[in-house]
C-alpha cells in the first residue's frame, strides 16, 4: 500500500477525532477488564454501606474510584480519637466529635466527581425496627455491613434473604490480624466466568454441524490448486481427518499415545508441499480432538439445577450454542467463509435457544430482555450459577462444622473464633471480658463439649483476645480491596464471586474458604 503525504494527514486527523473521551481515558485500565457493559452496570448501581469504620471507607474507596452510581453511608456515631487515627477518610483531629458518616462522605466523593454519595446519620438497629426503614434498605443494589452487632446482622440478613428481589448482602467481620466476609445472595445469579478473554470455546471439530462436515468432506485435495490447498483452514483439515479416522476406527477417536501420533501423521500426510503452514497448524491443534470436552463440566452441572423444569437436551448435537467465532480464523477468503459458517450456525442455534426458552418457560421468555438472552448465549461457555446460602446456615449444621474443623482446621478455626467474638461482643460492652478462656468456651459450646479442638483454635483465639476491637489500617485496606473485588464481580456479573466464608489471616498471610 503506497502512502502519500496527504493521506497521512487525512488519516491522522480522522484518527484524532476517534481518540477516546476523557471518561474512557480515565477508566481505560479497568475497561480492559469489564468492558463498557460492566462499566454501565457499575454506574447504575446503588450501594449501601453500614458503619463508617476504616474498613467500610476502604471498601467504598475501591468502589467510588471505578465509578459506581451512588453510595449511602449509614452511621450514627461520632468520630472518636481512635477513628481519627486509623481512618484515611476523616480529617484527622479536626473530625473528632463530628458525625463519622458526614465527615467521611465528602472525602470519598472527591475521589470521583461522577459518583453520588450521601451520609445517613442513623442507627442500623433503629432502621431495622421500622417498616419504612426496612423497605428503604431493600431498595439498594447491594448492601455491605462491617462489624455490626451480631443480632443486627442476623436481623438484616433475614430481611434481605426474605425476598428474591432484595439486594445481596456482604457481611464483613474483622479484629486485629483476622477477618472474614460472607456473601448472602438469595437469588441464583449467573456470571460469565472469564469474559473478554481469548479462551477459545469448542470448535466442534469432533461434533461438526452439517455445514462444517460438508465442507470438509467436499474438499477435493488431489485436484485443488496449490494456493487453495495451502489455505484450507486448520479446522476444516481436522474435521476431515477426524471424519476419515472415525470411518477406519468404528467411530472412535484417537485415545492412546500411539493413536494420537498416528492421527497427527495422517494430518501431515495430507500435505502436498512441505511448507504448507496450515497443515502444521492443524497438527499443532490436534490436541483439540482428544482434549476438548463438548460441554465444560461446570456447565453440564447446570442442567441438574432444581429450578429447571425438565431435563434440557438443548439440541441433538449436545453442544452449547456457538459464540461468534474466534479471531484466530479471520484471514483470507477461506477463513472468511469459515467465519461465516460458524456465524450462521451460531445464529441458527440462538434461534433454537430462544424457541426452547419460549417453549419451556413461556412466562420468562415474555419478560426477559432480548439483549440479555443474546449476552447469555454468547457467554454460554463461561456461565456459572452462584447459589447463595443464608447467613449462618452452615454454622447450624454442627456435624458439618465439626468435620470441617478437622479437614480444614486453620480456616474453620478462624471462622469459629470470629463467630465466638461476635457473640461475646454482643453480650457485653465490657471488652475485658473477652479473653482466651471466654472465647474458647464459646467455641467449645458451639461445636459441642465432646469435640476436641485443634491447636489452630488456640492460635486464632489468641490473636483475637489480643486485639478484639482493632480495625488495623492494613487489614482495613486488605479487606477493602477483597470486598470491593467481590462487589464489582456481583454488580457487573462478570468473573465469579466467592461462595462461603472467605477467611483471612494476616499473620501468616493466607486466605481460605469454609462453608
Amino acid at each position: 500500500m503506497k502512502m502519500t503525504e496527504s493521506q497521512d494527514i487525512e488519516q491522522a486527523t480522522t484518527a484524532i477525532a476517534a481518540q477516546p473521551d476523557n471518561k474512557t481515558r480515565r477508566y481505560d485500565r479497568q475497561l480492559r477488564l469489564w468492558a463498557a457493559s460492566g462499566q454501565a452496570a457499575l454506574e447504575s448501581s446503588r450501594v449501601l454501606v453500614l458503619s463508617a469504620s476504616a474498613t467500610s471507607t476502604s471498601i467504598l474507596k475501591n468502589l467510588v474510584l471505578p465509578g459506581i452510581g451512588h453510595f449511602t453511608l449509614v452511621d450514627s456515631t461520632l468520630v472518636s480519637p481512635a477513628d481519627a487515627g486509623n481512618n484515611f477518610f476523616l480529617n484527622g483531629r479536626d473530625s473528632i466529635g463530628k458525625s463519622r458518616a458526614q465527615e467521611a462522605v465528602p472525602l470519598l466523593r472527591e475521589l470521583n466527581e461522577s459518583v453520588q454519595g450521601e451520609a445517613v446519620v442513623s442507627d442500623v438497629k433503629e432502621l431495622l425496627s421500622s417498616d419504612s426503614g426496612r423497605e428503604w434498605i431493600t431498595g439498594f443494589s447491594l448492601v455491605i455491613a462491617h462489624n455490626l452487632a451480631k443480632p443486627v446482622v442476623d436481623d438484616l440478613a433475614a430481611l434481605l434473604w426474605d425476598d428474591l428481589a432484595n439486594p445481596p448482602l456482604i457481611v464483613v467481620n474483622s479484629a486485629g490480624f483476622l477477618a472474614e466476609f460472607f456473601i448472602s445472595i438469595s437469588r441464583a445469579l449467573w456470571y460469565a466466568a472469564s469474559p473478554h478473554t481469548d479462551a477459545i470455546p469448542t470448535l466442534r471439530i469432533t461434533r461438526p454441524f452439517p455445514a462444517l462436515l460438508q465442507w470438509a468432506r467436499d474438499l477435493d485435495l488431489e485436484n485443488m490448486d496449490p494456493t487453495t490447498h495451502a489455505h484450507i483452514p486448520f479446522v476444516i483439515i481436522l474435521v476431515r481427518a477426524v471424519d476419515l479416522w472415525r470411518r477406519e476406527h468404528n467411530g472412535a477417536l484417537p485415545t492412546t499415545m500411539a493413536e494420537k501420533r498416528a492421527f497427527k501423521e495422517s494430518v501431515l500426510a495430507m500435505k502436498i508441499k512441505p511448507d504448507e503452514e496450515n497443515f502444521d497448524e492443524a497438527e499443532q491443534q490436534a490436541w483439540r480432538v482428544w482434549s476438548e470436552p463438548a460441554v465444560p463440566s461446570e456447565i453440564s452441572a447446570l442442567f441438574s439445577l432444581p429450578e429447571l423444569q425438565q431435563p434440557s437436551t438443548s439440541s441433538d448435537t449436545n453442544a452449547l450454542p456457538n459464540p461468534t467465532f474466534h479471531a484466530l480464523l479471520r484471514t483470507l477468503s477461506a477463513y472468511v467463509r469459515l467465519q461465516r459458517v460458524y456465524r450462521e450456525q451460531a445464529a441458527a442455534e440462538k434461534t433454537l435457544f430462544k424457541e426452547l426458552l419460549a417453549q419451556v418457560y413461556p412466562e420468562l421468555a415474555q419478560k426477559i430482555d432480548p439483549d440479555e438472552v443474546d449476552t447469555f448465549v454468547k457467554n454460554s461457555h463461561h456461565v456459572r450459577v452462584l447459589r447463595g446460602r443464608p447467613w449462618r446456615a452452615w454454622d447450624k449444621e454442627r456435624d458439618v462444622v465439626v468435620s470441617s474443623l478437622s479437614a480444614t482446621p486453620r480456616e474453620s478455626a478462624t471462622h469459629l473464633a470470629l463467630s465466638a467474638l461476635s457473640t461475646l461482643l454482643a453480650q457485653s460492652s465490657d471488652i475485658s471480658e473477652i479473653t482466651v478462656d471466654s472465647l474458647k468456651k464459646e467455641v467449645q459450646s458451639f461445636v459441642g463439649p465432646d469435640v476436641e479442638l485443634p491447636e489452630e483454635v488456640d492460635t486464632a483465639i489468641g490473636e483475637l483476645a489480643r486485639a478484639p476491637t482493632a480495625d488495623l489500617p492494613n487489614m482495613a485496606a486488605f479487606l477493602g480491596g477483597m470486598v470491593a473485588q467481590e462487589a464489582i464481580k456481583m454488580i457487573t456479573q462478570q468473573y465469579v464471586p466467592v461462595c462461603g466464608y472467605c477467611v483471612l489471616d494476616l499473620v501468616d498471610s493466607w486466605t481460605g474458604i469454609v462453608g
Partner: protein, 427 residues
C-alpha cells in the same frame, strides 16, 4: 495511656487500634518482641522506610504506612500523573494531571495525616547511590517495571555486608495485573531474591514478523504492522512516542485500514494503545489488597509484633478467591545472590549472535542488550560505539572458537548492576 512518643500532631488515643497489637504479643509472636513503649518509639520516631513507586501500589502503600504509624517515609517516582491513573491512584485529582507523582502524593499524605513526614524524590532509583539506600530500615516496591525491580534487588543484595547486620535491608515487593497480584518478602542474601524467580514471569506475546507482514489474522497483527513496519518506513528516524495521542491515532488509522483489507475485526483505539504500550489492566481493589499485604509485612518486620511472610503470597480473584502462600526457594546459580556460574549447553557451531539471542529470550536470564567477555578477552560489547565496532566481527564467529569447553563467559548489561557468569558446555 501514652503513645510512646510526644511528636507533634499526635493526640490521645490516636493509635488505639494499632496499639492493641503493640501492647501485647500474640500466639505466633517471636519472643524477641518488646511489647509496649520501646517498639512504638522505634516505629514512630526511629524507623525510616523507602517506598519505590508512587503509582497504583505506591499511593496505597503511603496511606497504609502513615496510618500504621511510620512517620519518616521517603518516596521515589520518575513519572508524572496521567488521566488514566485516576481510576485507582487515589491521592491524585484531575487538577494534578502532569504533575510529578512523588511530590503530589507526599503532599497529600502530609495534609491528610498530621505528623507524618514524607520526603519525595522525583527521579530515577538509579540516580541514588549505596549511601542513600543505607539510610533506610526497610524498602517497599510498588513498581510496574521488571528492569527497575532487578536493579533495586541487585543493589540491596550488593549492599549486604556480613559484618554489619544493619546493611541487610528487607525488600518487600508487590505487583498486580487485573484481579491478580502478588506480594513477597525478600531478605537479601538470606531468602530467594527477585532474580531467583525471574522465570516465573509471563513471557510477553511476540508475533512472528512473517505473520505480521504477510498473513495477519488478529487485530494485534494489524497494530504490530502499523507500529513495527509502517511507522519506521513512513516516519524514518522520528521515534514513536506511545504517549502522544497523534502517534497512537496514526497507528490506529493505519491498523484499521490494514484490518479492513484483511476483513479482520476488533482494531480499536484502546486496543492499539494497549498493544503498543503493553498496557496491563489495573484496578483500585487489587492494588489495595497487595499494597496492604506489603505494608502489613513492613509493619510486622519493623515491630516484630507477629511472624512475617515467608516469603511469597499470590492472589487470583477472577474465579472466587484463590490465594497461595509459599516459600520460594533460592537459586544456587542466581546471578545476583547465588554466586555459582550458570551452566549453559550450546551447539559447537553456535555463533556469538545466536548465543546473544538465546540470552535475550531465556526466561531465567532476560538480558536485553548483553555484552560478553571471557576473562580479559572482549567477545562482544554493545557500547561504547568504538568497542562495539571493534567486536562486531565476532558476532559471526563460533563461540567455540573464542571460549574453550567448560570456560566462563561474563555477561553484563548497562541496565543491570550485576554481571552473570555462564559456564559453557558444547554439545
Amino acid at each position: 495511656m501514652t503513645n510512646g512518643n510526644a511528636s507533634s500532631g499526635d493526640w490521645e488515643g490516636r493509635y488505639f487500634h494499632v496499639d492493641q497489637i503493640l501492647d501485647r504479643p500474640g500466639p505466633r509472636t517471636d519472643p524477641s518482641f518488646l511489647a509496649g513503649e520501646e517498639v512504638k518509639d522505634f516505629l514512630r520516631n526511629k524507623c525510616k522506610i523507602l517506598v519505590i513507586g508512587a503509582g497504583g501500589l505506591g499511593c496505597e502503600i503511603l496511606a497504609n504506612l502513615a496510618l500504621s504509624g511510620f512517620k519518616d517515609i521517603h518516596v521515589i517516582d520518575m513519572d508524572t500523573i496521567d488521566i488514566s491513573n485516576l481510576n485507582r491512584q487515589f491521592l491524585f485529582r484531575q487538577k494534578d494531571v502532569g504533575q510529578p507523582k512523588a511530590i503530589v502524593a507526599a503532599e497529600f499524605i502530609m495534609n491528610r495525616i498530621p505528623g507524618v513526614k514524607v520526603t519525595p524524590y522525583y527521579g530515577k532509583i538509579q540516580d541514588k547511590d549505596d549511601d542513600y539506600y543505607m539510610q533506610f530500615n526497610l524498602v517497599i516496591c510498588g513498581l510496574d517495571s521488571v528492569e527497575a525491580r532487578r536493579w533495586i534487588n541487585a543493589t540491596l543484595v550488593n549492599l549486604v555486608d556480613p559484618e554489619n547486620p544493619e546493611s541487610l535491608k528487607p525488600l518487600i515487593d508487590g505487583g498486580t495485573e487485573g484481579f491478580k497480584g502478588q506480594a513477597r518478602v525478600i531478605l537479601p542474601t538470606v531468602t530467594s531474591c527477585y532474580e531467583c524467580s525471574l522465570d516465573m514471569l509471563n513471557k510477553p506475546t511476540a508475533f512472528p514478523i512473517c505473520t505480521i507482514a504477510n498473513t495477519p489474522r488478529l487485530p494485534e497483527h494489524c497494530i504490530e504492522w502499523a507500529s513495527v513496519l509502517e511507522w519506521p518506513r513512513v516516519h524514518g528516524d522520528q521515534k514513536l512516542d506511545t504517549d502522544d495521542p497523534e502517534h497512537i491515532g496514526w497507528l490506529y488509522s493505519i491498523a484499521s485500514a490494514r484490518a479492513k483489507e484483511f476483513k479482520i475485526e476488533g482494531v480499536s483505539w484502546s486496543l492499539t494503545q494497549g498493544v503498543v504500550k503493553n498496557i496491563i489492566p489495573a484496578i483500585a481493589s487489587t492494588n489495595a489488597i497487595i499494597a496492604a499485604s506489603c505494608c502489613n509485612e513492613a509493619f510486622k518486620i519493623a515491630t516484630s509484633s507477629a511472624a512475617y511472610l515467608n516469603n511469597y503470597f499470590m492472589l487470583i480473584g477472577t474465579d472466587g478467591v484463590y490465594s497461595y502462600t509459599f516459600e520460594h526457594e533460592r537459586r544456587e546459580d542466581c546471578p545476583v545472590c547465588g554466586g555459582e556460574a550458570l551452566d549453559v549447553s550450546i551447539g559447537k557451531e553456535w555463533t556469538v549472535e545466536r548465543l546473544i539471542e538465546m540470552l535475550v529470550e531465556k526466561q531465567d536470564i532476560q538480558i536485553k542488550k548483553p555484552s560478553l567477555s571471557s576473562g580479559a578477552k572482549h567477545i562482544y560489547f554493545q557500547a561504547p560505539p568504538q568497542l562495539e565496532e571493534a567486536t562486531r566481527p565476532n558476532l559471526e564467529k563460533m563461540v567455540s572458537e573464542l571460549v574453550p569447553d567448560g570456560g566462563e563467559i561474563t555477561v553484563t548489561a548497562s541496565s543491570l548492576p550485576f554481571s552473570l557468569s555462564l559456564r559453557v558446555k558444547y554439545v
